[in-house]
Subunit: 437 residues, 2 copies
Amino acid sequence: MRLSRYFLPVLKETPGDAQVVSHQLMLRAGMIRQTAAGIYAWLPLGLRVLQKIAQIVREEQDRAGAIEVMMPTIQSAELWKQSGRYEAYGPEMLRITDRHDREMLFSPTAEELFTTIFHNGAKSYRDLPRNLYQIQWKFRDEVRPRFGVLRGREFLMKDAYSFDVDFAGARHSYNRMFIAYMRTFARMGLEAIPMQADTGPIGGDLSHEFIVLAPTGESDVFYHENWLQPRDTAAVDADDAAGLEAFIDGLNADYAATDEKRDPAAEAAAGDKLQQSKGIEVGQVFYFGDKYTKAMGVTVQGADGTPITPLMGSYGIGVSRLMGAIIEARHDKDGIIWPDAVAPYKVVLINLRVDDAACLAAADDLYARLTAAGVEVLYDDRDERGGAKFATADLIGVPWQLVVGPKGIANGVVELKRRGGDKIEIGIDAAVERLTA
Amino acid sequence: MRLSRYFLPVLKETPGDAQVVSHQLMLRAGMIRQTAAGIYAWLPLGLRVLQKIAQIVREEQDRAGAIEVMMPTIQSAELWKQSGRYEAYGPEMLRITDRHDREMLFSPTAEELFTTIFHNGAKSYRDLPRNLYQIQWKFRDEVRPRFGVLRGREFLMKDAYSFDVDFAGARHSYNRMFIAYMRTFARMGLEAIPMQADTGPIGGDLSHEFIVLAPTGESDVFYHENWLQPRDTAAVDADDAAGLEAFIDGLNADYAATDEKRDPAAEAAAGDKLQQSKGIEVGQVFYFGDKYTKAMGVTVQGADGTPITPLMGSYGIGVSRLMGAIIEARHDKDGIIWPDAVAPYKVVLINLRVDDAACLAAADDLYARLTAAGVEVLYDDRDERGGAKFATADLIGVPWQLVVGPKGIANGVVELKRRGGDKIEIGIDAAVERLTA
């Protein structure tokens, strides 16, 4: 993409109303604009990152055997009355009356609708287990939306719902999502720690929140320092229920809990290895049994003909929030430092002298070659000073900067710099080779 | 995907409340379920097709130089008051009051918000031309939603908005979208005819609706029979403004108009080549000049320092409606016949005898080989009769059916059938080769 034809409205000043660094940087880097309290428009650069995050989430859900669907954002209040949540949900639910005076709402989550859709399609025990998920916009009418996409009102969420015939199956479904979440966050360069979390009035120990450590987080969290080491999930076979359970039990042997689930005995055992921090919740896995299937009268036929009430779990990832969490974890004073997997472009190609014929020819040629090789290049072909171009490149945090200048071109070399790292002089062909490897 | 682990709730009976064939088939093929009047849940098979249609739309928008963004679904009423449309829009606009009693709405279209976002980011004539688009859910509170996704309330729409410094530029932006639309619909196997359409109170001749001919369409349309021949747009260079204009003028020399824009003289000239039909509108391109930029006080700095009011066009494609239009155009008594480009899977692999070891081994092997080669396979590995499997395969309309049965396997052959076409016996390796070519 040529920057001269793009839409990248970067800001020189930090907007005064943005309190946390991710919000500041997303505004400054021209990724988002607020259009109402807690509601954002996604500009081209922000949308590209959002799509990459969503795609990683999708791939890991698919890999875990979950099946993608999509529910409408506007739902009838009727289902929510059946489950009892229409009254219980409170003012965070955006309630709507349509032209025929029917009560509707903007989905803040979708247990009721997934339960209904599943019920409509599954008749027998052979139709289980199933895990259905969507990546769809949600709305929660936060009383004080803040911190940009970390706590917005309209946000993109992946929500999955599993259906099983018995607890052993439900536990395995839970574990599959657990490991899928570990893999998802690791692919984005995040160390997200699964922490025992509050299960509310339903109880049980089957709920974990995945927390990214960040000083700007809203949650107080407590964990064994072993969690600061990255965990290798590559070798786990998620189809092997017993092996997967053992692996996850092994992980959870290291203490980690949110404020609501602190365990004094476990903390005493951790001793001086106990860490306390602030964190950002980026995902939650939750088993709740027959809460919705029972309330909504859902059964399937068992092997012996008797009806079975399916047991459910739900599994959320804050897709748009993840972008904020990644920036909180990866930035410096000059801007964002994207992990490769979610970077909006791989390379920003900077032509320092658009009025120099040799530079122009070399930069155009590099752009053509890299693009033809499938490399995502943002080509800064604008008639601007070099300083402004470097500042923009650092701000938007693209992993590689490839710099074409008159002195280098005279010697057949360009400058290749890793964002947040070293720079080298390198021959033109070698640079192409490095970036296409 | 193994059908035994999928979620494909096909219906044997045609639902009584579905009047048009696309609605009937989408329900029967387990693609959608209605969740409220004019509001649908997208089940796995339907979502796959929706994503493929959206991706074709996206690729052709990108190719035409448009830049993808995404606006929130929930917008503040303020902007709509500025443009004067908050009152004018009427009861089709879903109006919402949030917890702080602020007036909000679910976006039925987004001229106001795109104009604002553009204004915020573009300062000078050098920042034009630009064309920004999104693929996002819209809501229009139709008084009588009907015909499934053809006239739903919540629907997926691509909307693009162009900004130019003068009329010549705006005309070129319009033409680029015009040709992008021809290409988009052609890639989906649709013959969509661009017809002069009503421009409303703004006037001018720069509005075309793209209409798919179908007896179930809601529009009466009139056109020269030349339009029944497919048009080749491959050779047109969309960057060449004059050549593109000449090409489109050439197309439009053949009369085509919607009911509101009939031209008696042109119809007389067409004589007995004039055709009348019903049609489904799948897209519209519309030039409206400074209507919004003027009302909302948008200017950029011109080359000589004087302010310029940008001229705009907007360009819509009904992404979810297209699915209905494609089915209306491509089905038979047994079900849907997908064009390859939007088919949910390329092949349905049918094992006629899951209890036969040779069949099972051959089918599993075919599934593994095709999947490894990147072919999208739906593998009917269920313990069902062959008749039911063939009926499902025909109903869901996947382009190829690959059938493994005991007699064939004994002779080393399988059956390969084109949906709606012929079937052949073919060696296993040859079948793989055919499907991966």
